[in-house]
Amino acid sequence: MSTEQNLASAITSAELSDAIKAATHDVFLTMLGVELTPGDVYTEKTEAAPASGVVSLIGLAGPWVGTGSLSCTASFACRIAGQMLMTEYPAICEDVLDAVAEITNMIVGNVKTTLENRVGNMLLSTPTVIYGRNFQTRSARNQEWTVVPFEWDGERMCVQVCIAPNPDAASNAVRPGFPVPHMLNV
């Protein structure tokens, strides 16, 4: 294992969840003027139950590789876009998906900046947003996700990151614009 990876091995799920909480709080407060309440953090390795709504995924690459994601209901996504763009969105549309993608980009980008202080430079892919009913996502690499739920007026969204040392740290496992492979069951 390289020196960089040894340093990075000190990153715990607690540190990761702290980075997610700080980034999410900062992004929502600055861009939406909303103070979110974080819930109890948990980790999960098994497949999440089939869900409906919006999932936004961003790949991380470099000395460590992984994925960051934001998932929420359609109505939560509409509230994010409405607050961000000062417009009312009664249903999912292009603007709503774009707003959720950008919020995810900012959150995961800020988590990346925190991690870069420990593991060195990383790359961020452009976001991929999925909207639908009864779909399921899981990492093809069976990694553990650190999940932080947040509440906004009784509605819930989750920000989660899974990240692990890159076995081939000399190369970037993911090209920018292409998230880490995911299985999508619809």
Partner: protein, 121 residues
């Protein structure tokens, strides 16, 4: 003054337009581009007095766009404010070395953009 906003997020392009108005920048036409390729194509057709650009974008990222803009003598002194999630000192330094006039990290407040713009004019 006409302005070019280069960002792959339509939401951010809208927000930046709103911030320019709030900052009382005398904005004429605002041109939008979703990546560096579109940004360069717009610059070849239109004359602008200010560029706001993201870094992480498909096709051509903001740093390559910045380098190509600065390589053109006519655009060498054009104010370019980078607005990006990339927050490490190394990335900010790289942008400045390539010719960025200023740098604002996302998430941003209207006041942060206003402050940076005030320093450019």
């Amino acid at each position: 003054m006409d302005v070019l906003i280069v960002d792959d997020s339509a939401a951010i392009r809208k927000i930046l337009q709103r911030v320019l108005i709030q900052a009382q920048v005398p904005v004429g036409t605002v041109y939008e581009a979703s990546d560096g390729v579109e940004g360069l194509a717009t610059l070849r057709k239109q004359t602008v007095g200010l560029i706001l650009s993201d870094i992480n974008m498909p096709n051509m990222d903001g740093l390559e766009f910045l380098t190509k803009v600065r390589a053109e003598p006519a655009w060498r002194d054009l104010p370019i404010l980078m607005v990006s999630t990339e927050g490490t000192q190394a990335k900010v330094l790289e942008a400045v070395e390539r010719g960025a006039s200023g740098y604002v990290r996302k998430p941003f407040t209207a006041d942060q953009i206003k402050e940076k713009l005030a320093g450019l004019f």
